[in-house]
């Protein structure tokens, strides 16, 4: 956290905001506010330059064409890569996750260059993965079992320089045959759990906030979001 507040940059809601992605910004603002930490959120349109001074950058899901446009503009801009170099937190979902990698599949499955901020490669799979997803998060992240909804046809292969975010308990995730979901490297984290993944997983929201603040966060009282997480896990796993 470079100043007295957490600066959240929601990247390109005009292109990458298909599945309630706004929920992730709302939850970060709220969980920070409940701890007395002020936030400032920038809804960054794709014709604007990416600011370098953000603490948390969010990328959402999108259709094929908007995904390709977003990747082109972010590559041309270069601001996100600079922010990552200076230690910013990045949380990317679905199309946003794929475009952080070296390449992803376009409308016809053609490879499209990504940003190379995560050592992953994505392509187009045979079947669309649609449904609830549950996973056990990499132990070092200290986040309880995650629940989400996935809707994608991507297959993502992890390279040497990333770690799998979670082991799939239910659902498809990366779909590359190793049973993993998502990937992370340092403070850059991507997942196929789309939309308000941080809503259904308050622990994951707190992981990102903790990274941004640079210290342990005080725990919060149980909320409806915690009940939602429990209800979803029960509904899917029972």
């Amino acid at each position: 956290m470079s100043s007295d507040r957490i600066k959240i940059v929601w990247i390109y809601p005009d292109l990458l905001s298909t599945y309630g992605d706004q929920g992730n910004t709302i939850v970060l603002e709220r969980r920070a506010a409940l701890r007395g930490i002020p936030t400032e959120t920038v809804h960054l349109r794709s014709d604007e330059p990416v600011p370098a001074d953000g603490d948390i950058y969010l990328l959402g899901g999108g259709e094929d064409r908007p995904q390709i446009l977003a990747a082109q503009r972010l590559r041309g801009d270069g601001g996100l890569a600079r922010a990552v170099q200076s230690g910013a937190v990045v949380f990317a979902v679905c199309a946003g996750y794929q475009l952080l990698g070296h390449e992803f599949g376009g409308e016809e499955g053609q490879p499209v260059p990504g940003l190379g901020l995560l050592d992953i490669r994505s392509g187009r799979g045979e079947q669309r993965a649609v449904g609830e997803i549950v996973g056990d998060v990499a132990a070092e992240l200290n986040v309880p079992r995650i629940t989400g909804f996935e809707n994608h046809q991507g297959v993502t292969h992890l390279g040497q320089n990333v770690r799998p975010f979670a082991k799939v308990v239910h659902g498809v995730g990366n779909g590359s045959g190793d049973g993993f979901e998502g990937a992370y490297s340092g403070r850059v984290l991507g997942t196929y759990m789309h939309g308000p993944a941080l809503v259904r997983n308050p622990g994951l929201a707190d992981l990102l906030l903790g990274w941004a603040v640079g210290s342990e966060l005080q725990p919060l009282d149980n909320s409806w979001a915690d009940r939602l997480r429990e209800e979803r896990l029960n509904a899917v796993l029972s």
Partner: protein, 416 residues
């Protein structure tokens, strides 16, 4: 109908029997099963049934059923009109609608967005009304940019079809602009989160930000809003000949229904029904398949509003009783609703602050988490009855998504 081939006549007859049996078994109006049986026996049945009729296809993300009803009502001066009034909006429903009105020379068919190309090809519809496209049930619906692209190809291949399209919606405009002849209707667009980018080139769209002015153009290419033939300002319509008409007599509430009425007027004008003749007929429509109906129960007047996606919720909020009027919300996530509830986070619920709000439905905890984050006070209840009995006698607005709406509608006597 009498000139149908024998096989098609048999297909129609067996379809009707199946529909009747389905109705007797209490499984809805039977139009889907009836059409399915008919199409199984004669795969070209839709084409045959459409022959020699003047047909309108009505498609959009929101407002299809209501607009279909409005158009049908306004076309009654022309004679009998075949229509799929109950929202069975795929080819099976179209077959049933046409088969059950064999002598109708006109037909108004609500059409699922994905099926527009197929139904257009099979029926060669005379008029296609395209109203709006926005995010909707993403786990099963097509992505809308892709969908608009398919409309373009279908309309290009159907040069005899005339299109009535909402030019305030950039994606609809793009989807319609390959048609040989188009009437552009400025029907408004309130949900804009899916139209910040040019559908043609992906560049940023510059837009007027007021509800009253929806002008837009691409900053990078020549794609821009066409000049509208019909316009809507508040509740005043201006026709292509410059004459103005008031919509204050409409029975259906809200700006979304003023838009639907405008589209309906433009469609029926294409068949020679002038606005002054059509308007009183539009006003006769007071509810559509239970939507906007007010039911009386235990001293409460319960008004039922159906909203299936973020754009639809925005329009439902527009017609709520003024604050602090109580509101009950019910959300399910069954197949027809979409199993993914993430769209709740695209709806701005802060407008409900300061009202008593009750929350129910199978996904009430999703809704509770959403309202909690929006800092809206609410009470979670197990079913709609608890909400109804908790409010004082008087008005209660109920907003529900598809299957939740059907449950509530059935609970209060399957009102129409």
């Amino acid at each position: 109908m009498s000139d149908l081939p024998l096989r098609s006549q048999l297909a129609v007859a067996l379809g009707r029997t199946a529909a009747k049996m389905s109705r007797m078994a209490g499984r809805g109006d039977g139009s889907v099963i009836g059409g399915r049986v008919g199409l199984r026996l004669d795969p070209e049945l839709l084409t045959r049934l459409a022959k020699d009729r003047k047909l309108v296809l009505v498609s959009a993300t929101n407002g299809k059923t209501t607009t279909t009803r409005l158009i049908t009502s306004a076309m009654t001066p022309l004679g009998e009109v075949a229509t799929n009034a109950f929202g069975a909006n795929m080819p099976t429903g179209h077959v049933s609608a046409l088969a059950s009105a064999p002598s109708a020379r006109y037909g108004v068919l609500e059409c699922d967005e994905k099926y527009v190309p197929m139904v257009l090809k099979e029926t060669g519809a005379n008029v296609v009304a395209l109203m709006n496209l926005s995010r909707d049930q993403m786990d099963r619906a097509a992505e809308i940019w892709l969908l608009a692209g398919k409309w373009r190809r279908a309309l290009e291949a159907s040069p005899t079809s005339h299109v009535i399209a909402n030019c305030d919606d950039p994606l609809v405009t793009w989807g319609a602009s390959t048609a040989k002849s188009v009437t552009w209707v400025a029907a408004g667009q309130h949900w804009r989160e899916d139209s910040w980018c040019c559908p043609e080139c992906g560049g940023p769209l510059d837009r007027q930000d007021t509800d009253e002015d929806s002008d837009w153009r691409c900053r990078q290419c020549t794609f821009a809003r066409p000049r509208p033939d019909w316009t809507l300002r508040g509740d005043t319509i201006t026709a292509p000949d410059g004459r103005s008409y008031s919509l204050t007599g409409l029975s259906l509430p809200g700006r979304a229904n003023r838009s639907n009425a405008l589209i309906a007027l433009a469609v029926v004008a294409q068949f020679g029904v002038p606005p002054e003749q059509a308007l009183p007929l539009l006003s006769q429509v007071t509810s559509v398949a239970g939507r906007y109906t007010t039911v009386e129960h235990e001293g409460r007047s319960i008004r039922l509003l159906l909203s299936k996606n973020p754009a639809g919720w925005l329009e439902a909020f527009d017609v709520l009783q003024p604050a602090p009027g109580p509101v009950a919300l019910s959300v399910n996530a069954q197949g027809p609703d979409g199993r993914d509830t993430s769209w709740l986070w695209d709806v701005d619920y802060r407008i409900l602050r300061g009202r008593p709000v009750w929350v129910t439905g199978e996904r009430r905890i999703d809704l509770a988490a959403r309202l909690e984050a929006a800092e809206v006070s609410f009470t979670v209840v197990d079913d709609i009855d608890q909400a109804v009995m908790a409010v004082p006698p008087g008005h209660l607005d109920v907003i529900a998504n598809y299957t939740a709406f059907q449950t509530i509608r059935t609970r209060y006597g399957r009102v129409v």
